[in-house]
């Protein structure tokens, strides 16, 4: 599986119209293509970057990615391109590839993800990191010091984040080196503490060990909090 990651920098005040256009002109139409499944539409209405949205679309294989890009750049995508062009001032299309130990490797994994409801607000956190060490060492660090401790934490029932996947930006699709953790916030109160209370980390216990050791691998990353829009249509 390949996860397509499209970022739209939206003009001020344009979020609602942009989202309407996405659910009308894109999601139902590309879903009709074999091997293409719109997954999440994530939006932030205000922040350092202003208004933006990220559309995440699952693709079964490289050929399906080709079909998607031909649809988008051809006559069928013309109405959407015109509306998106008017409502955005920036656009990037990346392809993400999941680490071997991460979900989002197999197409069969999608169905249970699509069945999760939107009866309460769903908030996602995307962490993008730019390592200054070998990429393989960074990937292994994230598995060892973040993925596995949080998976262990989840078994206690006290998890505040669900880790959806860890990805590298595929060659030919954006910046290198760059890696992305995609997570869902399960507990808003814990998130409030994360935002509001400065933490002095103990380097010997998680999450301190992760935060302190992490500086060996990178010191630049970006966290984005986004609301997942309920699917329409």
């Amino acid at each position: 599986m390949i996860l397509l990651h499209e970022t739209f920098q939206i003009v001020h005040g344009g979020s609602d119209e942009f989202e309407d256009a996405y659910w009308r002109e894109v999601a139902p139409r590309v879903r009709a293509l074999d091997g293409v499944e719109p997954l999440w539409f994530l939006r932030q209405r205000t922040g350092i970057e202003g208004e933006f949205a990220i559309a995440l679309t699952a693709l079964r294989a490289g050929e399906d990615l080709g079909a998607y890009t031909r649809w988008m750049s051809g006559d069928q995508g013309a109405v959407w391109r015109a509306q998106a062009g008017r409502l955005t001032h920036g656009f990037q299309r990346k392809a993400l590839m999941a680490a071997p130990w991460s979900p989002f490797n197999e197409w069969d994994e999608l169905q249970p993800i699509l069945e999760i409801g939107y009866d309460k607000r769903r908030m996602f956190m995307e962490d993008t990191g730019w390592p200054y060490v070998r990429v393989a060492d960074y990937v292994d660090f994230q598995r060892r010091e973040y993925w596995e401790p949080l998976q262990q934490w989840a078994t206690t029932g006290a998890a505040i984040l669900k880790l959806w996947g860890f990805f590298l930006v595929a060659p030919g699709t954006g910046h290198r080196p760059e890696a992305i953790f995609l997570q869902e916030v399960l507990d808003d109160r814990a998130l409030e503490r994360l935002i509001g209370e400065p933490e002095v980390y103990d380097p010997n216990t998680f999450p301190g060990s992760y935060m302190v050791q992490g500086l060996t691998y990178r010191d630049q990353w970006r966290s984005r909090l986004m609301v997942a829009a309920p699917p329409r249509g």
Partner: protein, 190 residues
């Protein structure tokens, strides 16, 4: 036919290693269907220092996926990391070739300069299809759905393009960004 193009910010002291690592990566990647396409430096006076634009051809999207998986987590990851050690970072894109026509002018064909023009989506860039040079559509990366045109130009034509004193043809004049590129002595496209 697809092209993976990468704009590399190379560490100045590591330029020779960057070249040799690129050649080694291309040789090994040939097994996944990759064909070396171009190795250009941004010409002096037109942009950033030690900025190298590399291009690889791939026959189709299945070949791109094989190559991408090999780079991300497979057999090409070690070589790519060795390349990473010679550069600060890179920005890449996947382009689909729409047409490829040899340069008819002997003077331009003999010149060592290439010009890459980037035309926004739906700005009429498709009209360049069939004209001399390589016309490509952006699929992935920073400029999806736009048109990229790579042409060979004489040095005097390049100066005219940069100064805007003589117009290029009407389609190419739509470009919102123009890169002047000098091929290395061993670049497949010279």
């Amino acid at each position: 036919m697809l092209v993976v193009q990468e704009v590399n910010r190379v560490k100045g002291k590591a330029m020779e290693q960057f070249e040799s690592m690129t050649q080694e990566l291309w040789n090994v990647a040939a097994a996944t269907g990759v064909q070396a396409a171009w190795f250009f430096e941004v010409s002096h006076g037109t942009g950033p220092s030690y900025c190298v634009v590399t291009g690889m051809r791939l026959p189709d999207w299945a070949a791109w996926e094989s190559f991408a998986r090999a780079v991300a987590f497979g057999d090409l990851s070690g070589l790519t990391e060795a390349l990473d050690a010679t550069r600060y970072d890179s920005e890449s894109s996947v382009l689909e070739i729409l047409s490829e026509v040899p340069e008819p002018s002997e003077e331009a064909a003999a010149s060592g300069l290439w010009v890459q023009r980037l035309i926004d989506p739906d700005a009429g860039g498709e009209a360049a299809v069939g004209q001399p040079g390589i016309v490509m559509r952006g699929c992935l990366g920073a400029r999806p759905d736009g048109i990229t045109v790579l042409t060979k130009e004489t040095p005097s034509a390049v100066l005219d393009i940069l100064t805007g004193e003589t117009g290029s043809n009407r389609v190419l004049a739509k470009a919102e960004s123009t890169w002047v590129l000098r091929p290395s002595s061993w670049s497949p496209l010279r």
